[in-house]
Symmetry: C5
Subunit: 255 residues, 5 copies
């Protein structure tokens, strides 16, 4: 479980709440209409820009990103190398009953067993990668859109408050509190944008980039297996995708 | 009908109206000159930057995006597979009288029947895709331009109000209401930009990207039909364009 | 004549003037030193960033964009098809005395008559297209630069006014009018940037993109003529560059 | 000498000084600590982001850009054509003792004389072009960085002034002058960013792009000479890099 | 040691402290809750967007960038030339026991000795380069994210302070000091973003670009050695990566 992201989000919110409570009353920062206009308005605009199921899908994917982790690339490489040893000894067909463990790798190997040409395997796996990226980017786009819309909704709410306050400025003692309430929507907009949606959008981007690396490793590995390369050389090639400090053999990084 | 976008736009505006009415009088937020300067000024600037028929076309396309939906990719794939079964059994000519249903697919098949080479078919369909994208991007550019111009017109209107207020600041009791009116153009500019034009521009982008996917599926399908591929393998290849959860067979996604 | 752009620019300025006159005196918005600092400063900065003849050239090109129109792509396609019919019947040499009408098309045809290879014709026409784009982008860059510099000059002018006002704040009744004058440079900067330079920069971009389409149609047409393609098939290929609703035959668009 | 840039920079600063003097005392806008924090802080941040010799090199290159001009492309083309006439008559070796005048052209010709293959000549000249661009972009990046850092340093300085003023707000008559001083750092930051660093960064970009065009012309010319093309055809090809109005023969531009 | 970056960061902070002390008490600018909300909140958001080990890795890499320097490209080129002389005389195998000194170069040479084909060597070294860039960009992304998040946390903190101040505005004499404290988070956010994270992110970018150049030189050099090119010609080719003034022979730069 990727607990750091939960700590990050929870910690940032806790710091904000803590800062509020040091200076006074937390309830003074809770204003239901302001929350509705910022949170509701941002979600409504997201519905305008994208279909309902994509918006819900983006939220579901984000929740998933918080709770489970990708397999480490080291394990994937070891698995590919083990399978390539087997394939070299007994032929690709020997992998037919093998539980592969990685669905994308399994797809490539099944195609090879079914006799698809290397070009077809490469084209099919590359299409899979491209449509995975396109799907994920669609979800990230929802969060990036909410990141840029939330401060705008905050501004709109604050303008409503300011206009109402300015029109009835007869009692100076009410100006301060009215303006405080008006500023709350800006405050909510900033939190929704910069503490919630922005970091989640980037988190999803990072996850997509990690998944892409795993898929690129798999693609290189399947291509190498199909062309019957030496397992030691396959391993060497795939390890280049890892940071030098993660590689089992102690190579130094170029530079 | 893509009702979610109507709900999104209507809901966001309803929330803003609701927030205003909770705090006072809705009419205080209606100021005809401010609406003219923001809405009219933004449209005038759009006319400066693009021909009249493109601006009108963009508005028409946006309206269309709200009312009708694209065919689902699953149906297109099933249609291509059905046609490829027929073509494999009876030859491409057998498709001559077949109602194809999808104009872009029909164009590719007609070219194949007419004996165009695969390279020509690919080149013509790719030009069609590229000019569809170029046309759509021209429309999106109008909405993106209005998204960035509307807050500027709001600022210009607010500056006009502020300058007029500051020049005649002899009666302090009039400052508040005058400033409230001055802020209304900023308020309209923000709504026009962030609630209307921005989400619509992104909606059109998403629609273009979905249409591109449908066209890419069609292009791949026609190419595969022309080279006489196995319908089962065509299906397999085209399904890679779908999200794993939309595929009829239960494949797991790689990663 | 592209009258819409004149209407757009004139209309936006008229709306701003109208909004000012509804609220008071137009002369209160005229301040010569503020105009000098915003307009003069922006032009001076443009001189720093680009040679005098490019800045002047950009202004001349912009003026041209307001007064004349490109030929419609439909006419160009018909002309190419007519010429290809002639060339197919009587050979390319038959076009030697033909008035071509389109200089870029004429250049391609003259090279074909002179016996240049298709590769050379393609390379020369592509270089022409690339240097047309580079030249136009240099002009657009001047307007984009002025679009981002004008608000900065407005800010600088407003800061000068504010500093002078704040230093001598002994008579409160002068604060308002002094601040009104200080805000005028921001007002001019916003108009110069968002009503004038921004839309013109985008107008020029759109024009370049239309010219590129015309040149791409020409290039495709010349290549097809040189390789002796069937005029009907040339027409079919070139029509793909047009929006479906502009094509003479009633094809439906894919989707 | 490229005098327009000096006029641009000098003129913009003169206009700002003029605007200040029309409204009062120039000395009121001179505040040594504010200058130190904006200018010094921006330079210090530039040192953090890039090595000392690159920062100094960028300033040296900028100074050079103000004082000398590139050779006109027309002259370069004529020189290449003259040399190609000679080479066609007497062979490439005849150019051995010829003073070439353009170092980059000289390098290409020397390689051809030394018997390098066209592929090697192309690869070496392309590497030269790419590293010229990389070097220049490094210098431009310093000015772009200072353009975005200067307003931030201005904001930091203004915040320091505001905090100090707000803490000791017992005498209202001191508020104005204190705030005026606080605003001066914002004022300096805006001038440093938008009048000095921004235009210079763009000036350097334009110069790089002109130098690239000269190098592209040279590369095309050398390749054509090596493959023994007809001087008239070389001239024709190279003239495509120029704007139509700069070409000796009166061709019209395509459109 | 790259001492300029330490001077840059230290100097910028010293200037800010100096400016504060000239105007009053340094302690007035220290506010522990404000520091916690800006620094802690920014770090927490970084944790949300990226795994803990990447965030820590980015900080470690940044620290490394401050303390050590890359080898100069001139030395790398001389080393490659020396090795190529040896390889040409005694064969690639003669380099087997040679201490290479540069790990990335060593990897390429070892592959050549092991009999890998030029294509494999190129592919493996290119994968290494691409994953080096991807790793470094991940670290830079952390600093860029903090650069854009820090001002947002500053704004959130300032809004908290403003809302609390505005709600209890009964004693005017407390408004100034309360607002001064509220502005401190904006001040900290600006320093963290524009003086610390921004320049460090760009510093890391510059370092990655220098490392890429070294790797590109190595890749070109190894390819040339493997194809048995003349050492003098290898040297000539590699020197093109250097600025003309760094090249031992006195070539002039093209232009």
């Amino acid at each position: 479980m990727d607990i750091a992201t939960l700590i990050g989000l929870g910690g940032a919110l806790a710091m904000i709440v803590g800062a509020i409570m040091m200076g006074g009353d937390l309830l003074a920062f809770v204003n239901i209409p302001s929350i509705i206009i910022v949170l509701g308005g941002t979600l409504m605009c997201a519905l305008t820009m994208q279909r309902l199921h994509v918006v819900l899908g983006a939220i579901k994917v984000a929740a998933k990103a918080f709770t489970d982790n990708l397999d480490p690339a080291e394990d994937l490489i070891e698995r590919i190398v083990t399978l390539s040893v087997r394939a070299r000894k007994d032929g690709m067909l020997a992998l037919e009953r093998e539980p592969i463990g990685y669905p994308f790798l399994a797809k490539g190997i099944r195609m090879a067993i079914d006799g698809s040409t290397p070009e077809t395997i490469k084209a099919v796996l590359a299409t899979e990668m491209a449509s995975m990226r396109a799907r994920h980017e669609r979800g990230q786009a929802v969060f990036k859109f909410m990141e840029s819309t939330a401060p705008a909704m905050g501004l709109i709410g604050t303008l409503i408050g300011l206009v109402q306050m300015l029109r009835t400025m007869n009692d100076p003692s009410t100006i301060g509190p009215a303006m405080a309430v008006a500023l709350l929507t800006t405050f909510y907009g900033a939190i929704l944008a910069f503490v919630v949606c922005g970091p989640i959008a980037r988190k999803l981007e990072n996850r997509t980039s990690e998944e892409s690396t795993l898929m690129r490793i798999t693609l290189s590995g399947v291509m190498a297996m199909v062309s019957g390369e030496n397992p030691r050389s396959i391993r060497e090639q795939l390890l280049c995708f890892l940071a030098p400090e993660l590689r089992p053999t102690d190579e130094e990084e170029g530079g």
